[in-house]
Assembly symmetry: C2
Homo-oligomer: 349 residues x 2
């Protein structure tokens, strides 16, 4: 019979409770006591329950969700939906906020591995696809977001470029001539922004408009304050635009606030479109026209794909069959509201 807690306690000359405290990593154990218990554990070859439980079940019932930023309402809403979808499978979801920083994303596997998670749903911002393959080698994973097409795992995302083109087309069809963009970004972390910019350009060219670089405003981050500042710069720099496509809803809500503060009517003077369809834009004044990705579908699919990976049939020696990874694009649609249609027209729809 393998040694138990009792044997360790006897050998170390402490209570069973104290052994349990050491094994479970609790803090309230004096250093010398901890050392004595650890010595007894090593001598006896005792295997703590946490590992035994894990070995019996093979599954912890817990998955991790790693995403850039909970202050971004889109990610907070997505996280909430993933928790709900996972609950139907009786999974607990532990959420890790990476800040979208490469060092924290790279360190993700290290930070999560000891937690006996069954799988990972990961929305990377800074890491490239190749890095992810290296750094999260053994954990079943589903990737979210437009960062990593053809990555090393199943992947669920909206067609970013097409969605941005649809948003811009909506503004063209309303007869707007000087259509600005807010949210341009450079560098390797800016894949999403670059795809949205590409969609914006494509739609303008399709409508025979020239792309005016003076109407493309960068944003360091995608928060309300960035949108407010970028809109201010656009208004200060020459003839104002008559429409703005913002690369997310928070930028759009910040831009609207600046427009109203400066005495511009929305959409009378400037029509505004966002991207994400966060709840805030359904209650803002004016309500926000936006690209609505099927976020609930992303959450549901992410959990389903991960569940399939966990249940996958296996070959003899425990090596999985060479996996083929799925790329799933979810639907999107433009939802016209007051910020482009005006109040009465929006109500009639």
């Amino acid at each position: 019979m393998p040694p138990g807690l009792k044997d360790v306690a006897k050998r170390a000359g402490v209570s069973i409770k104290t052994v349990s405290n050491v094994v479970n990593g609790y803090a309230h154990v004096a250093a010398d006591t901890r050392a004595r218990v650890q010595g007894a554990i090593a001598e006896l070859g005792y295997r703590p329950n946490v590992a035994a439980r894990q070995l019996r079940g093979g599954r912890s019932g817990v998955i991790a969700l790693a995403l850039p930023d909970l202050r971004s309402a889109y990610f907070a809403e997505l996280a909430s939906m993933i928790v709900q979808a996972a609950e139907k499978r009786h999974w607990t979801v532990l959420i890790d906020q990476t800040g979208g920083r490469a060092d924290r994303e790279r360190d993700l596997a290290g930070r999560l591995r000891r937690h006996l998670i069954d799988g990972l749903i990961f929305s990377p911002l800074a890491m490239a696809a190749g890095e992810i393959a290296v750094d999260v080698p053994d954990t079943p994973m589903v990737l979210l977001g437009e960062r990593v097409w053809h990555g090393p795992a199943d992947h669920v995302a909206v067609d970013n470029t097409a969605a941005a083109a649809d948003a811009t087309r909506h503004l063209c069809e309303l007869g707007r001539r000087r259509i600005a963009a807010i949210g341009a970004q450079d560098g390797p972390v800016a894949v999403s922004a670059q795809q949205r910019l590409a969609g914006y350009r494509a739609a303008l060219e399709q409508h025979g408009r020239t792309v005016d670089p003076a109407l493309i405003a960068p944003a360091a981050e995608f928060h309300r304050a960035d949108g407010a500042a970028a809109m201010g710069r656009l208004l200060d720099s020459g003839e104002p635009p008559d429409a703005v496509f913002c690369f997310n809803d928070l930028l759009a809500l910040g831009a609207i606030r600046t427009l109203l503060d400066r005495g511009y009517a929305v959409p009378g003077d400037v029509a505004v479109v966002g991207f994400d369809d966060i709840e805030e834009g359904r209650f803002s004044t004016p309500t926000l026209t936006t690209v609505s990705p099927d976020t609930a579908g992303i959450a549901r699919l992410a959990v389903e794909l991960l569940a399939e990976r966990l249940d996958q049939p296996l070959t003899g020696d425990g090596a999985a069959a060479e996996p083929s990874f799925r790329e799933i694009r979810v639907e999107h649609r433009v939802v016209p509201r007051e910020s482009t249609l005006g109040r009465l027209a929006a109500r009639r729809r």
Copy 2:
């Protein structure tokens, strides 16, 4: 020398990699292979690395944060601040969304214990203080929120009743006569709502106003849609109020949307105050007057108190000295903005 991975692999007749996959709980191992490896582990008394690593360090460097609802911007912003505060100590924070449901809050310890967390920051909604003491017995913990004064752990919260009274007083001082409240709730999970209602009543009585039960509107949840619906019911039920104190910002933003939709001016006809000071209210139209708790202070203190608990001096046999729990109230202030002052007055401040 204790047995190693190699010994287990030899005994089970599989590769070291396969043993590692079983030990780490990865899914891609056939059931019979897994059973053979587990048998060899048991025979040899092998202690997997995950436990060994834990025993060496005594700390995992990971804490858990359990909170009700990430769709509520206040909790998402609080979570983000706690992650930042913890990062200064090189802690990883795993977030668990409980939905504020008693069953998920009760099961918290069970869901987290196997994850070798060093400590827990817990914002309970449904659990009572006594239950928390029973169900999270061994993990160093800090409690957040007004639910659990005199609970079984260090506790950080705003003075809810005083803050609600201050918000209501602000409306009284502006000369409003029919001041409504949105967010009343019954039952044991409604402590926070009841404290805010008590503050509202106290301030009205202090200003010699009678409390009109017809002006107290319940809200099932604290989301924008609940505020919008409650405001609609208040407007339908008789003489409209000339001010509303909403028990959080999301309720207030929903209420404002209903007022504007029905043709009421804010604050001209109805002044509105919220509670939480979420970022959204600084950019909404009108900007939102609100109670601003020191949320960054709550985040910082929660992490500091937990760190102190983890470093606490200890007595001989590993039992901690009888702990005395700290109750810390953070500051709050009313931030007047356009929803009570109007646009020009708000700008002059």
